[in-house]
């Protein structure tokens, strides 16, 4: 029998303990992984608005709780356009509207048709709306499919009726699941004339983007620039709170898990005292005892990690189908998530198993053998 087989035998034979520990580890992993994938999914969905515009960087108002609460006025936009190195600054208004139960967070973008090219918008059916038209709308192809609408259909949104003039594609899932309106019209519907949410900025070829963002920050301190999705997370205060909550819950899950593992191992140690005494009496070294017990813990950690990840797939899929989160939450299972699952499982198991393992190794064989 190999040492590894001995480990698996011990894990297998103590079924109740092994199942209990596997589930304890799995639930901690489930918590950590589900929080991880949903928060990074939310972050990505939000950041997707930014990647809709194919810009060198995006400008939003500084210190807003939610990026969509950002307001940039005409003067600020003009200031951006006149910043040295900037070739264009496209202002767009972004709104979220509850269309119906199936589309609780429908994204609406106010944008001038002249900015379509720079924004990566292709008209795939019908035609673009006129720059200042009222009651006209273009639907992303995903939105059109979801809503069952075509060119010429009527689409009620922003408290009014609109005619679908065309269908567009941006190549971005989030953008394609929304609608676009002439900028002045949507500003009017929302009673924010001249206001945009975000500005997508392009810099002249050969110009340093970093230098231009520094110039913007200096000239307009109330604005902030975002170059990557990760920076977006830092600009949006809701996402910062979300990340803090995720970190806190992760630490808590690991600690609670470690306590459960430690407690179970300690109980199992009392149960196995005679066994350990026997092994020491037939010549097992302390080091070998530690290797055996840590090996058992490691195996349980791996089983728990695997189960936890499997469960989190199910839970994340379930969450994504909740009416309130429909279309917003795209669980994001990256490689990173699996490493996190592994670290969580190994971390909590090793922390929990350390003390019982050391105690078992330090048992006096005589006392252990006479233990009933």
């Amino acid at each position: 029998m190999s040492f590894f087989l001995l480990i698996t035998r011990n894990v297998w034979s103590k079924k109740a303990r092994s199942i209990g520990l596997t589930f304890a580890v799995a639930f901690a992993v489930l918590t950590v992984v589900t929080l991880g994938v949903t928060s990074s999914g939310l972050e990505q969905s939000a950041a997707a608005i930014i990647s809709v515009g194919k810009a060198d960087f995006t400008v939003v108002q500084k210190d807003v709780s939610d990026t969509l609460a950002s307001t940039i006025d005409t003067q600020q936009l003009a200031g951006l356009r006149h910043t040295p190195g900037v070739t264009s600054a496209v202002g767009v208004l972004v709104e979220i509207e509850h269309i119906n139960a199936d589309n609780p967070v429908f994204i609406e973008i106010g944008i001038s048709p002249g900015d379509f090219a720079g924004f990566g918008v292709r008209v795939v059916a019908g035609s673009a709306y006129a720059p200042t038209a009222a009651h006209e709308v273009m639907l992303g192809w995903r939105a059109a499919a979801n809503l069952g609408l075509h060119v010429g259909s009527r689409f009620d949104a922003n408290g009014t009726w609109n005619t679908v003039t065309g269908i567009y594609s941006t190549g971005n899932a989030f953008g394609d699941a929304g609608a676009m309106f002439p900028l002045p019209a949507i500003q009017g519907y929302n009673r924010v004339p001249g206001i945009v949410t975000l500005a997508f900025v392009k810099v002249a070829p050969g110009t340093s983007v970093a230098a231009v963002t520094r110039r913007v920050a200096f000239a307009q301190p109330v604005l902030t620039t975002i170059r990557t999705a990760a920076q977006f997370g830092r600009a949006d205060r809701d996402l910062i709170y979300l990340q803090a909550a995720v970190t806190g819950s992760t630490v808590l899950a690991i600690l609670i898990g470690a306590v459960i593992v430690g407690n179970t191992m300690l109980l199992s140690l009392f149960e196995r005292t005679h066994e350990f005494g026997l092994m020491r009496a037939v010549g097992w070294t302390r080091r070998r005892m530690v290797a055996l017990l840590l090996g058992e813990s490691l195996l349980l950690a791996l089983m728990g990690a695997a189960l936890g990840v499997a469960l989190s797939f199910a839970v994340a899929a379930g969450l994504a189908h909740l009416p309130a989160l429909k279309g917003v939450l795209h669980p994001n299972f990256t490689e990173d998530v699996f490493w996190r699952a592994l670290y969580t499982a190994l971390g909590m198991t090793l922390i929990g198993a350390l003390y019982p393992t050391i105690r078992a190794a330090l048992l006096s064989p005589l006392k252990a053998l006479s233990y009933e």
Binding site: M1, S2, N10, S13, L278, A281, V282, W284, L369
Partner: protein, 229 residues
């Protein structure tokens, strides 16, 4: 110190005391010599210190005072206790000898971990040992699927795993019926004729009668010795 080691003696115990916490004197200045190849039975009333003596010989307990030399090792100055337990002595208890979750074969392999052997070598050796104690065919059974007598024979196979010079058995037949006891004693005699040194604790006079020498203990010392055959 090495001059004082008598190379003829497998076990050389001088003036050993063992006082447990609470001032329980289990051994009170005990002397004992066992020659290589000898089979010795230790008898005496309950609580006279038989198990304590055996545990000290097996190096799972240590004396409060006195000297214990086993197979040339002064147990007070031994560096590798685990190595001593693994290679020099084999241990058989009255009960709970085997790990319940492991097969007969794996139980016999247990002391071979740490000897630098491959899994295959361990298996081969364990199969040999099981054949030696007439248990071929029972390799994959769990201890609960064996009779008491079979279990004790597995315990002997395990005790012999690393070819120790000395076999220590603490009431190995205490839980066996007469047929199983007879079979167990046959095995011991076969080992004895192969040159094994055997120290066996027993309550039963008919079991003790199989030894070359019977040592009677009382209150932690040897009170009588008789040659049985």
């Amino acid at each position: 110190m090495s001059e004082s080691i008598d190379r003829q003696l497998a076990i050389d115990v001088k003036g050993v005391t063992r006082v447990f916490p609470g001032r329980v004197t289990a051994l009170a200045g005990l002397d004992l010599n066992v020659r290589y190849g000898e089979m010795v039975a230790i008898t005496g009333p309950s609580g006279c210190g038989k198990s304590t003596l055996l545990n000290i010989l097996a190096a799972i307990d240590s004396p409060t005072s006195g000297s214990v030399i086993v197979a040339g090792h002064d147990l007070a100055h031994i560096h590798d206790l685990s190595g001593y337990r693994r290679h020099e002595v084999g241990l058989v208890f009255q009960l709970h000898n085997l790990l319940p979750q492991l097969s007969t074969l794996s139980n016999v392999e247990l002391p071979m971990f740490g000897c630098g052997w491959s899994a295959h070598q361990r298996r081969t050796r364990a199969l040999e040992l099981l054949a030696e104690v007439d248990l071929s065919g029972c390799e994959q059974r769990l201890p609960t699927e064996l009779s008491g007598g079979e279990r004790q024979r597995v315990a002997i196979a395990r005790a012999l795993a690393n070819e120790p010079k000395i076999l220590l058995a603490d009431e190995p037949t205490g839980s066996l019926d007469s047929a199983s006891t007879a079979r167990f004693l046959d095995l011991l005699k076969r080992l004895e004729s192969g040159g094994m040194t055997i120290v066996m604790v027993t309550h039963a006079p008919d079991v003790a009668a199989n030894a070359q020498r019977v040592i009677e203990m009382r209150d932690g010392t040897v009170v009588n010795e008789s040659v049985a055959k």
